[in-house]
């Protein structure tokens, strides 16, 4: 996959193999560097940055700066010249339809529609209510009539049979039904229901069986008693809870009053305190959230830049756990084991256990409610307050809400245009510890046999560059300048570019293969298999033109 640059020396048409020099940096690295840089700069458009596309960008826009430092300063200052040198790639983008503010009549129409709907709903509710009241009144009348009738009948047996015929078991039942209906009628009519009173009144008769000892009751009554006991206890519990809630509310009210008082005393100080508290809490929550979600941001793009370890996939909390486990595994038996001497040591196991981050789930909840409370309070009293204005997360979320513009779909090539090809001259940009092209020429010259006088000058006056990477504008000038720096003053230097750098090597081989002497000058695969590579190497290839 790698492509290489070679420096080869020819003396009198003979290659000097000893003076060869090779670097591991080539066009692949330039493209890869550009691709990585752009995808880090524009993570949203990573799908558009395919290898082919970046290769095209490289061939079209990249150039080699005459002097990297001064060129980059041009961009740092933001000169006019730098602006001219900046290229912009506009990605396909369609403006989202601009929403026009609704006209006056539109608003009026909508309001009317809404009003109509609510009117209808109101009417429906009214009709329902009146029908319910009617129903209840009818029932009440029936019950009243029943009670009247009951008054007329004196004997007990007759009462029972009469009630059974009407669907009731006892007189008490009729009375309770009567009470219920009256109550719901009142409710329906919108009157205040004296519920407390009702409970007090009915408590004695509702639970009429509770105070009677068990052995005086029949089986049926026992069952009824148990039910009543249960009912009573639940009602009481409910009442107690209500009481508690009331007390809590009172407490809160008191706290609020206290705060209000504080505020009255010193409004600025109070506001300051509140703000500080808000900031602290929001930061705390933010950090926790980040810890939980960290590492899952760009999983898909991670593997572009090389191997993805197991650790990279986990989030920070998990990674911390992993670290603890590994240190624990390798720590044993090394030196004196003091584990457990202090009580804190045992906390380690709690951290190590898998579900340790689920443990403190109720705590963030508490923090969150507190945060919500403070922010609402701040909003009440502080007109300049904007929730979440200080936290970093919402700052990064802001662009999501504003409509995307043309600029969001642009890929700007500025410094990248010459930063990427610069790796040919400074491979340490991409972490390869080798000398660049210009220095390599010096290395090669030093490797030349030293017995010929003036050989080095002869060499530098005819340098041929070939291969795709020499197509960058400015390549020849830069190479010349670089060589001039390492050679003595007045050295003749001439850099010639091949006429067709990409295809020349192939063309040469093609011409050679088509020539008549090709079969005599080459070895076949069978030769290699029969005689071995050592025999081949003895030939010490001669090169004649």
């Amino acid at each position: 996959m790698l492509s290489y640059k070679w420096v080869e020396q020819f003396i009198n048409g003979e290659p000097v193999y000893e003076a060869c020099c090779r670097t591991n940096v080539g066009g692949y690295h330039v493209t890869d560097y550009l691709k990585q840089l752009l995808s880090l700069k524009y993570p949203h458009h990573i799908s558009k940055l395919t290898w082919e596309r970046v290769e095209e960008l490289k061939m079209e826009h990249c150039y080699i700066a005459g002097d990297y430092a001064s060129e980059v300063q041009l961009f740092q200052r933001g000169d006019k010249e730098a602006e001219d040198k900046t290229r912009c790639w506009q990605l396909p983008w369609t403006p989202s339809p601009v929403e026009e503010p609704p006209s006056e009549e539109e608003i009026a129409r909508k309001a009317a529609l809404k009003e109509k709907q609510s009117q209808r709903l109101r009417e429906m509710a009214e009709a329902k209510r009146s029908s319910k009241i009617n129903e209840l009144e009818n029932e009440l009348k029936g019950l009243e009539f029943l009670l009247e009738e009951l008054k007329d009948i004196e004997e007990d047996d007759e009462i029972v049979s009469f009630l059974v015929s009407r669907g009731y078991a006892a007189k008490r039942e009729v009375e309770s039904a009567f009470a219920k209906v009256t109550q719901s009628l009142r409710k329906a009519k919108g009157e205040q229901v004296p519920s407390e009173e009702k409970v007090d009144i009915s408590a004695a008769e509702k639970y009429y069986l509770i105070d009677i000892p068990d052995d005086e009751l029949s089986a049926e009554q026992l069952k009824e008693k148990r039910r009543q006991v249960f009912l009573k206890s639940t009602t009481e519990a409910r009442q107690r809870a209500k009481q508690r809630r009331l007390e809590e509310e009172l407490e809160k009210e008191k706290e609020k009053k206290l705060e209000e008082q504080k505020r009255m005393e010193n409004p600025e100080c109070y506001l300051e305190q509140l703000r500080a508290k808000y900031k602290e809490l929001s930061e705390k929550l933010e950090q926790r959230k980040r810890l939980k979600t960290n590492g899952n941001h760009a999983n898909g793009n991670n593997n572009v830049s090389g191997g993805v370890g197991r650790g990279e996939r986990l989030n920070a909390a998990q990674r911390e756990r992993m670290r603890l486990l590994t240190t624990a595994a390798f720590d044993r038996g090394k030196g004196e084991d003091t584990f457990g001497q202090r009580d804190e040591d045992w906390q380690l196991y709690k951290l190590m256990s898998r579900d340790n981050d689920d443990d403190d789930d109720d705590k963030p909840d508490h923090d969150e409610t507190e945060l919500a409370r403070i922010s609402s309070r701040l909003r009440e009293i502080d007109p300049t307050f904007f929730p979440g204005s200080e936290s970093g997360a919402s700052a990064s979320e802001v662009p999501r809400f504003r409509p995307l513009t043309k600029e969001d779909f642009q890929i700007i090539l500025g410094v990248e245009r010459f930063r990427c090809p610069e790796v040919l001259f400074n491979p340490n940009f991409i972490g390869i510890d080798q000398s660049g092209l210009d220095e390599m020429v010096g290395v090669s010259l030093r490797r030349l046999p030293s017995w010929v006088q003036g050989l080095e000058d002869k060499m530098t006056s005819s340098i041929l560059v070939t291969g795709g990477s020499c197509l960058y504008p400015g390549m020849g000038e830069r190479l010349e300048a670089g060589i001039r720096m390492i050679r003595p003053c007045g050295t003749p230097i001439k850099v010639v570019r091949a006429t067709d750098p990409i295809m020349d090597a192939w063309r040469g081989a093609s011409v050679y293969a088509a020539a008549m002497q090709f079969p005599q000058q080459t070895f076949s695969r069978t030769d290699y298999y029969d005689k071995g590579e050592d025999w081949l190497r003895r030939y010490k290839f001669k090169y004649t033109i």
Binding site: Y17, Q73, N426
Partner: protein, 124 residues
């Protein structure tokens, strides 16, 4: 003709006159490629370069030596000259704006920037 062929900018002829063995003979369609490509490292190892006399130029020993000049330090984000270094993220930066940016970068982006110059810490 198929649609993809018509749309393609460049179509290689299936039959090449100068080839003794055509591609379609060598790799019949539907069959997995029989050829196993060796990696560069494997080839170098198979060549047994260490057995040759050291002065003989081989693929490995013609490689250019490390640079004699101190490496240029450039800002990892912008490419400007970087006089500063952030000890927390280990990134180099050019000015305060870039510093603000790198402090707010998520950790995996920092690692990817570092990986660009082979300085990333790979946790395994």
């Amino acid at each position: 003709m198929e649609r993809e062929v018509l749309e393609a900018e460049l179509v290689l002829p299936t039959h090449m006159k100068f080839k003794k063995i055509q591609m379609y003979d060598k790799y019949p369609k539907g069959q997995a490629r029989g050829r196993h490509w060796k990696h560069l490292k494997q080839i170098i190892q198979a060549e047994n370069y260490e057995n040759y006399p050291p002065q003989l130029p081989t693929y490995v020993n013609i490689e250019t030596p490390p640079s004699m000049h101190p490496g240029k330090k450039i800002c990892d984000i912008t490419g400007f000259e970087a006089p500063y270094f952030d000890p927390r993220t280990k990134l180099r930066y050019a000015n305060t704006e870039v510093f603000k940016a790198i402090r707010s970068l998520p950790n995996d982006y920092v690692q990817r920037y570092l990986a660009l110059r082979n300085a990333a810490v790979v946790l395994r």
